[in-house]
């Protein structure tokens, strides 16, 4: 029997606000344990939460970017459960009335396009974390992360393969990072994903029993876990068994999913509206303002690059992989007026430098102005493409402008006809043997003469002009 996987994903994205969702503490990662805490995020008796408006703004950006309907009023609820990393004994989240619903994103799979529905986007606070002592039977609680703002993005069960899941996640990730509302760092947990997955016979419309997958902390692991789970469920079903509704944890080392211990999952969260927070009303003018502030999203940008700069779709894809890179390329393209050349230099040289040094484009020592200047110099014939390759290395190492480097090293191209003519005649005069062979019909020796001219000018001669003049002068001999 042919089975079809039905997958829905729940993404938790940490928002890049400077302070936490309900108090003024810093959200900085990696600080000394419990140094970014206050009575509010420690859950001291008597404290009250106050909603950080920036969190709402960021969440609204994501909701708008994914074409959600924004609820005019939304509410916060308490999700009650006991765990040492949860200082209040409940997590403030949104439940019955989330911030936004009914959105969608477009993904590309196997060259085709597909729309994945978004059920809802809501805001909530993150929990702290436990640090287990390796040498003592003790655990410690670090509440720096408690109260860091999250949005949860819940997809519709529209995803039909691990590959689609990967494409969907990459799309969400890209949008979040593009809008600079999430750093997207999966290792630090800024972008996390849980999956719901079930199988059903291909002709069936009803859903099968699903499992929930957790503990996958990279795009690759998510795809691997889903692939494994599809295989596992198919095996169970094909052998006449039934899939148990349970939460399973991905074991990266073994490459399998295992059921979570039963005790930990039988939760009744007893959600109810948080009486400490009032209903959130999204003001229409504010929403308009946020809409106007939204950056061009990657998909749109990609299309525009192909159209306006006449660069291949693949190149546009690479150049728009981050907003900073796209901005960099666009600046070079505009300043130089040569988008094609700009694309080549960025794709080939700049990205290689950065990749070798594990640097980000924002840390690139070559400013867009400098790269544009280099392209202009080549175009004007002031330096050769070959020289430019040396110049750009120097630019990357020193941060100097190409003009400065060229002057310093005396690398200016010799494009003066009289000067070159003199060099050429002395080269011809110094190689009578080769000249007679050339004149006798050994055309290949033309290259030898070019090489000698370049050598005599230490590579500074304009190669095109050398070609031209040499041809003419040899013919005249």
């Amino acid at each position: 029997m042919e089975y079809e996987p039905v997958i829905g994903l729940e993404v938790h994205a940490q928002l890049l606000t400077a302070s936490k969702i309900f108090c003024g503490c810093s959200t900085e990662f990696g600080a000394i344990p419990n140094s970014h805490t206050c009575p509010v995020c420690l859950g001291m008796p008597g404290v009250l939460p106050v909603l950080n408006k920036k969190v709402v703004e960021y969440a609204l950006k994501m909701a708008l970017a994914t074409h959600c309907t924004i609820n005019e009023t939304s509410n916060f609820a308490r999700k009650n459960y006991f765990y040492p990393d949860l200082p209040k004994g409940y997590q403030i989240s949104q439940y019955a009335q989330p911030l936004a619903e009914h959105g969608k994103v477009e993904i590309e799979v196997n060259g085709g396009k597909k729309v994945i529905g978004i059920t809802r986007i809501h805001m909530e606070e993150d929990a702290g974390k436990l640090i287990h002592d390796e040498y003592n039977p003790a655990s410690y609680v670090d509440l720096n992360r408690a109260g860091v703002p999250l949005i949860e993005i819940v997809s519709e069960p529209d995803i039909r393969s691990a590959e689609e899941a990967g494409a969907y996640l990459k799309r969400l990730h890209e949008i979040l990072v593009y809008m600079e509302i999430c750093d997207g760092n999966m290792e630090e947990g800024s972008f996390r994903c849980d999956a719901n997955i079930s199988l059903r016979p291909k002709w069936e419309t009803a859903f099968g029993t699903r499992t929930e997958l957790k503990n996958m902390n990279s795009f690759r692991n998510i795809q691997r876990a889903l692939e494994y789970e599809i295989k596992r469920q198919r095996y169970v079903l094909e052998n006449g068994g039934s899939v148990a509704q349970e939460t399973r944890l991905w074991d990266d080392a073994q490459g399998v999913t295992n059921p979570m211990r039963g005790k930990e999952e039988a939760h009744d969260y007893r959600y109810f509206p948080d009486p400490d927070l009032v209903s959130l009303t999204v003001d229409e003018l504010w929403l308009e303002e946020i809409k106007r502030s939204l950056p061009e999203l990657p998909l749109k940008k990609r299309e525009r690059f192909v159209r306006d700069y006449q660069i291949p779709a693949y190149d546009a894809g690479v150049l728009t992989s981050s907003r900073a890179l796209a901005d960099y390329f666009e600046a070079v393209a505009k300043l130089s007026g040569k988008p094609k050349a700009a694309s080549n230099w960025v794709m080939v040289d700049i990205l290689k430098f950065l990749n070798d040094d594990k640097r980000e484009i924002k840390d690139c020592p070559i400013l867009p102005e400098s790269l544009a200047q280099l392209i202009t110099l080549i175009d004007a014939g002031a330096i050769s493409g070959k020289m430019a390759k040396d110049v750009i290395v120097e630019m990357y190492e020193t941060g100097k402008s190409p003009k400065a480097i060229i002057e310093e090293k005396g690398m200016v191209q010799i494009a003066d006809e009289e000067t070159l003519k003199k060099v050429i005649s002395s080269v011809i005069g110094a190689n009578p043997q080769q000249l007679s062979q050339f004149l006798a019909g050994k055309d290949k020796l033309f290259g030898y003469f070019v090489g000698q001219v370049m050598k005599a000018t230490q590579g500074k001669a304009n190669p095109q002009l050398v070609n031209e003049l040499l041809k003419k002068m040899l013919a005249e001999t």
Binding site: M44, P45, G46, L48, V50, P84, V141, F272
Partner: protein, 485 residues
Amino acid sequence: MKLNELTIHELQDKLRRIEVSAVDIVSSVFDRIDAVEGKVHAYIALMKEEAYEQAARADEDIKQGHIKELTGIPIALKDILCTKGFRTTCASHVLHNYIPPYDATVIEKLKQAGAVFTGKTNMDEFAMGSSTETSYFGVTKNPWALERIPGGSSGGSAAAVAADECIASIGSDTGGSIRQPAALCGVVGMKPTYGRVSRFGLIAFASSLDQLGPFTKDVEDCAIMMNVMAGYDPKDSTSVPMDVPDYRSFIDRGIDAWTVGIPKEYFIEGIDAEVMTAMQETIKLVEKAGARCVEISLPHTDYCVAVYYIIAPAEASSNLARYDGVKYGYRSSKCRDLLEMYKKTRSEGFGAEVKRRIMIGTYALSSGYYDAYYKKASQVRALIKRDFDQAFTKCDVILAPTTPTPAFKIGEKTDNPLQMYLSDIFTISTNLAGIPGVSVPCGFAGKGLPIGAQFLAGHFEEGKLIQIASVLEKTAHLKSRRPNL
């Protein structure tokens, strides 16, 4: 009269005229505490050292000519208010060693107004109770009759004012916890509109019902305390950004041509005969002052207790989840694992009434029961609120008994939680509707036990309550009576 027996405004006059010093006042209060606290047990902890320091500072201020609303006035604080650096227990074993790292907003406001803190007063554990009998630190006695309860949950704060162990005090009212003990102890107690006074630093029992308010010896003091306590606080999202009037300006304005609503559902069989008589006297006094009393109806009154005992425990079950032994407070020793630590800490840390309410609340929020209990209760709550909205289109204020009986005996109702819950029958609706209420002494029962009358007004109409309460106080002539300790 001794200084500790005087009111805020009387003492402030004396301070202004430099007849007495703040240190004189605080000394007279602590002399009184030394004399009667052994009998009353109004306090969980005294702040004697701090109080003398604050008083000395107040005297300095007075010398400099800086005299603020509460300069040099000794005030007692319910032990539910967080005081920075001073143990705050909520009368619970689970917080018996908890020292807050911050001050409640109301504490900050009182400090800024120059108040002197006498100590933290006794209460029912986590404010759950109507008699101060559920306190981990023992029972508080009613100063008028030591074998009787002072009411609750703010019993210590009410008793401290009645016994002149402070000049005024702060309490919190979730279902009557200020007004009921005020009535039973013969003092003035006000529960402001929900959102009028910041809850920041008030240890939560039921967040949508809790509100802080004052206990005072007279209505003018109530107005003075409200002037200091009321106002928007950005740290409390449920506090309301609205101007605060000068409540003192409502004193002695009279109630000529007012309409006073008498809800028929509050004058029912089963009310103590002496309470009923006192109420009838009160109605007469109000009419004599120029108001017209009309019968009104609050048709959903019957559901108040049921609704309250779903919503309050539901919120409490969540609010009290943080007392888990992980971060502060009591932690049971020798636990093998996390689950056992939770179970033992909470079993040993909470008293029976608190556990009962946590269980009721947990049940009411459980999946499968939520709709039938919590959701239904919230819907009925909206109807109760609507009852009041409609009533206030017909009258300026509502008059009702604060309690169905005068103070009952210690131990009388501890074995019967339902009987205990019914002692709040007249005060609960106010909290469900979020409106303000004030209890004022209106008579005495034969045994010399105080009886209180309760006035209720629309949202943010505390001024009206001060206005009519001051009229009743002037005409009832009860102010001079003091308990014989």
